[in-house]
Homo-oligomer: 212 residues x 2
């Protein structure tokens, strides 16, 4: 079995940690917090299940790190947009920043899953704080009014739902889906579409790793 990426030398642990976090983001995004097993994260990362647990201590803490990472990326993207070219309207700048985030489904889907778990004492608290931080960022540093910020957030939430529902999978067969997606993503629709290929029954094959 000669994989192309076969390595004799060991990967630095920081790098491996980030790799696991990225894989965990994808898996948690697809199956939610309670619905994903640490083993699934391990397989998606190419490491063993006990190692995932030992790296993060707990599945809950792993999810919290995934959540913080996602919120960080959102924060970074929005701040860059706010500091961007003032010739372009702020809403469009933010919208384009959001579009770039959709390239990684997991980031936005993990946020949605967290936003639906407000009743959880730990995850809910973190999610509330993160959400309000985003709102405050939009309202206080983008020059938007509270109403504008809320409207922008609302559009983002609809976009998240569209991603979570995998509506793109029905784009070709459902006219109403085409119309809706056209208004939710008025720009770059074809690009987003290409980065969200339909889910084949067997799933888009990632690198296979032996089971538990």
């Amino acid at each position: 079995m000669s994989s192309v990426t076969e390595k004799k030398t060991r990967m630095p642990s920081d790098e491996r940690r980030e790799l696991v976090l990225a894989a965990a983001t994808t898996v948690f995004g697809d199956t939610g917090y309670a619905g994903t097993t640490t083993d699934a994260v391990a397989r998606a990362s190419g490491v063993s299940q006990p190692y995932v647990v030992r790296m993060f201590g707990t599945k809950e803490q792993l999810f919290l790190e995934v959540l913080h990472r996602a919120l960080d990326k959102l924060d970074t993207a929005f701040r860059a947009a706010i500091a961007g070219d003032p010739e372009v309207g702020i809403e469009r700048r933010l919208g384009l920043a959001y579009f770039e985030l959709t390239a990684d489904r997991g980031i936005l889907l993990c946020l949605m899953h967290a936003f639906a778990l407000g009743a959880d004492p730990v995850i809910g608290t973190a999610a509330r704080c993160g959400f309000m931080d985003v709102y405050r960022l939009l309202r206080d540093e983008s020059g938007m009014s509270g109403q504008q910020a809320a409207d922008f957030l609302a559009g983002g939430m609809l976009a998240n739902v569209v991603l979570g529902l995998r509506l793109f999978d029905d784009y070709d067969t459902e006219p109403a889906v085409q119309e809706l997606l056209g208004t939710v993503f008025p720009e770059k629709l074809d690009i987003i579409r290409r980065s969200h290929p339909p889910l084949t029954p067997s799933g888009p094959s990632r690198t296979a790793a032996p089971g538990r």
Copy 2:
């Protein structure tokens, strides 16, 4: 132990079934599909765990029934709003209908959970169909344009997130929360607030039932 609702006579099974569905809606809303156990649903319903399974066959089928019930209530409420007083603008009529639905957190939260599970072959399919049915209803039978319908949906999604996050719990302590909620729920804010009391650490005590 003389409970007030102590009954000698047996409850009709249709009624009991609806009771279990309502309880399941609340529990699934709080902890999501994968995160809730059939035992939790049973305890919230006051019946035994095996009975819940036997009534619905499978946890998955139970959730599907909960989902359909929620979509039905949404459909019914929106159709009533569409047929309502034309003196009032359609958006306000629909908004008020949505407000009434918030009285039962579970309905909207179950929808959100389902909307985030698009990758699930069974639940995802049902969720996509239900969501698009709602969109088509708004676009085709309310007189709204596709853009209006999408905007209304976006506002609804933000409202759902606000409910899922339990932002009302922080209303008194966070000024930004007050401002945001004021713009998300421009009407009846105090009424919604009263129907969404903060979650005490031990949880708002429902009727206790013996564990498994």
